[in-house]
């Protein structure tokens, strides 16, 4: 869909006095977000979003889609009001077409297609995982890092090589966020999964200590969490102190993904690492990544909580980079891609970030 044929050699420039202004739409999982960015300071012009929070149990895709449909209009209006712009003022509409949940993705894609055709704006396809890396490179200023990408549905170690972000390691089964959420739900300490900026497992781990007995699985550059989940649940149900189980579960899960990140740094020779994705807001994980980097004499950065979770800003930001490199898509081609792997996406702008777009 996004082929070299759609790329032009000349940079696209806008009617905004050399600035590029892009509106981005995120709807891959539980958050419907609209962000607006400019290639000139202050870069982020708007960041509006609504998050679907289940009252009980996990996330049901159809319910999320219904929720997104009901809030899409007001989120869009809120973003435009924050930026003091109308859709006519933007140079392009970026949309996360995947990966994610089909019904949820469809809402964002529908809104994006409608805006692009109604206002005759170029439509820019954005991969959600690429966007998490781009926002990390933008806010940390680390241009060529190993990326530790941890979220509810994703856990991978990524690094740029030969035109694309490559997956150096990932979970062989469930994602880190999923591990923590499922454990919390099964032992009855969630929902709510996060309150006061802390995950239920983190709260439970306070006052806990490390105990032996949970499996630590790193296979080469991959981790595996499903055995850990089963063992932790068994341990919790057999009468071990829940705070100890939570502490140990978190210790094992976080240490193993950080170890994979460390392996990737050793393998690729990179001297910086960024932590991104919804679970990046976790302070314990961030401090582990920092300690790992410092012990290697490497630099490190973590995406601040506001931009770590799913948001429209990172989609707009990535869309701006893509648009500047002539990557657009016809409205009729803009179909969702639930399993769109990060390593299928060309990133010709690398190692540029949004801050470089105005200088040309």
């Amino acid at each position: 869909m996004v082929s070299a044929a759609t790329q032009s050699s000349s940079r696209r420039r806008s009617g905004n006095g050399g600035d590029l202004i892009v509106l981005g739409i995120e709807s891959t999982a539980h958050t419907f977000g609209v962000g607006i960015v400019s290639s000139r300071e202050p870069y982020i012009l708007a960041d509006a979003r609504r998050q679907y929070k289940p009252k009980s149990g996990g996330i049901l895709p159809r319910e999320v889609a219904a929720f997104f449909s009901s809030v899409a209009g007001e989120v869009l209006e809120e973003a435009l009001a924050q930026a003091g712009l109308t859709v006519r003022d933007v140079d392009g509409i970026a949309v996360a077409l995947g990966p994610g949940m089909g019904p949820a993705l469809r809402v964002g894609a529908t809104v994006a297609r409608a805006l692009a055709s109604r206002y005759r704006k170029p439509l820019v396809p954005v991969n959600h995982a690429v966007a998490h890396i781009e926002v990390a490179r933008f806010v940390t200023g680390l241009r060529d890092p190993v990326a530790v990408y941890v979220a509810g549905g994703n856990t991978s170690i990524l690094s740029y090589s030969e035109g694309r972000y490559r997956v150096f390691g990932e979970t062989l089964d469930i994602a880190l966020g999923n591990l923590l959420d499922t454990f919390a739900r099964e032992v009855g300490i969630a929902p709510p999964y996060v309150s006061g900026g802390k995950h239920a497992v983190d709260k439970c781990a306070e006052g806990g200590d490390y105990i032996d007995g949970l499996p630590y699985v790193v296979k080469g550059q991959d981790v595996s969490y499903s055995g850990l989940l089963t063992a932790a649940l068994r341990m919790a149900r057999s009468g071990a102190r829940l705070s100890d189980v939570c502490y140990t579960l978190r210790e094992v899960a976080f240490s193993s993904i950080v170890e994979v990140g460390e392996r990737c740094m050793a393998h690729t020779g990179r001297d910086s690492v960024v932590l991104t994705g919804g679970v990046a807001a976790n302070k314990v994980l961030a401090s582990k990544v920092a300690l790992m980097a410092e012990s290697r004499g490497a630099r490190h950065g973590t995406v601040p909580p506001r931009l770590a979770g799913d948001n429209g800003v990172m989609i707009a930001l990535t869309g701006a980079l893509a648009l500047a490199h002539g990557i657009t898509i016809g409205v009729e081609e803009a179909v969702i891609r639930q399993r769109w792997r990060v390593d299928r996406v060309d990133v010709p702008w690398y190692p540029e970030t949004l801050k470089d777009l105005s200088s040309g």
Binding site: R106, M292, R344
Partner: protein
């Protein structure tokens, strides 16, 4: 010079010249009982709980030494084990001099035969039901006419075809991620050598490795339906 006190031994090893630093260990070089040797010392990880760190370092050291010795007895080209001290995370082994396969590939100085031999080493291990755990191109050393597999840090006894297939999957991924352009050629020669050393079993392992690849999250081949947005 070397006392029986493990802490003293750590001190002495750390005085040797550092050859490289891996993700979890320091590799130092020196002489051990007159043999040109590599000293692999697992260093404590600051980001781990001390107890988890100690348990992992000790068990990995012990397991690595055991499997390295077993691999050697299977006729696979691996360094000879010279000594092991689990409580301090130290393994001493024969030093293999040569060029890391990853660098040989990057420089274009590798031969098809090197890759065939790389596959052969893994095939021999698998034929003895040992999974290496990290068979990337950075863990192969081209030494003259021979190719050695090093770093048994993540090796384990295999109990299923799946365990072995993960090795093939990891090798394929390391090739695709670091040598994307030459990947097809590299894999072809590698698998030729692998199948020669592990006849019968090897085919089942490769088949299973393909299944693992398709199982990976968001792999497009797994998708049966193209959803229209």
């Amino acid at each position: 010079m070397v006392s029986r006190n493990p802490e003293g031994l750590v001190e002495w090893v750390r005085s040797l010249p550092l050859a490289s630093r891996g993700a979890e260990s320091e590799i130092r070089v020196g002489a051990w009982m007159g043999i040109d040797a590599v000293f692999k010392l697992r260093i404590p990880k600051a980001y781990m709980h001390p107890r988890l760190d100690y348990v992992l370092r000790m068990s990995r050291t012990r397991r690595e030494a055991k499997l390295l010795a077993k691999a050697h007895s299977l006729g696979a080209r691996v360094p000879l084990l010279l000594g092991v001290f689990p409580s301090i995370g130290l393994i001493i082994m024969e030093r293999i001099r040569g060029k890391v396969l990853r660098d040989a590939i990057r420089e274009g100085s590798y031969r098809a035969e090197d890759l065939r031999m790389a596959g052969e080493v893994l095939g021999r291990l698998h034929d003895g039901w040992i999974a290496h755990g990290d068979p990337t191109t950075s863990n192969y050393i081209v030494s003259g006419e021979r190719v050695y597999l090093i770093d048994f840090g993540l090796a384990d006894k295999a109990t299923s075809v799946e365990d072995l297939a993960v090795d093939i999957h990891l090798f394929r991924r390391s090739v695709e991620s670091t040598h994307a352009v030459q990947a097809r050629d590299i894999l072809e020669h590698f698998l030729d050598g692998y199948l020669e050393a592990a006849p019968g079993l090897g085919e089942r392992v490769i088949e299973r490795a393909e299944e693992i690849r398709l199982r990976g999250r968001y792999v497009e081949e797994r998708r049966r339906t193209v959803w229209a947005g």
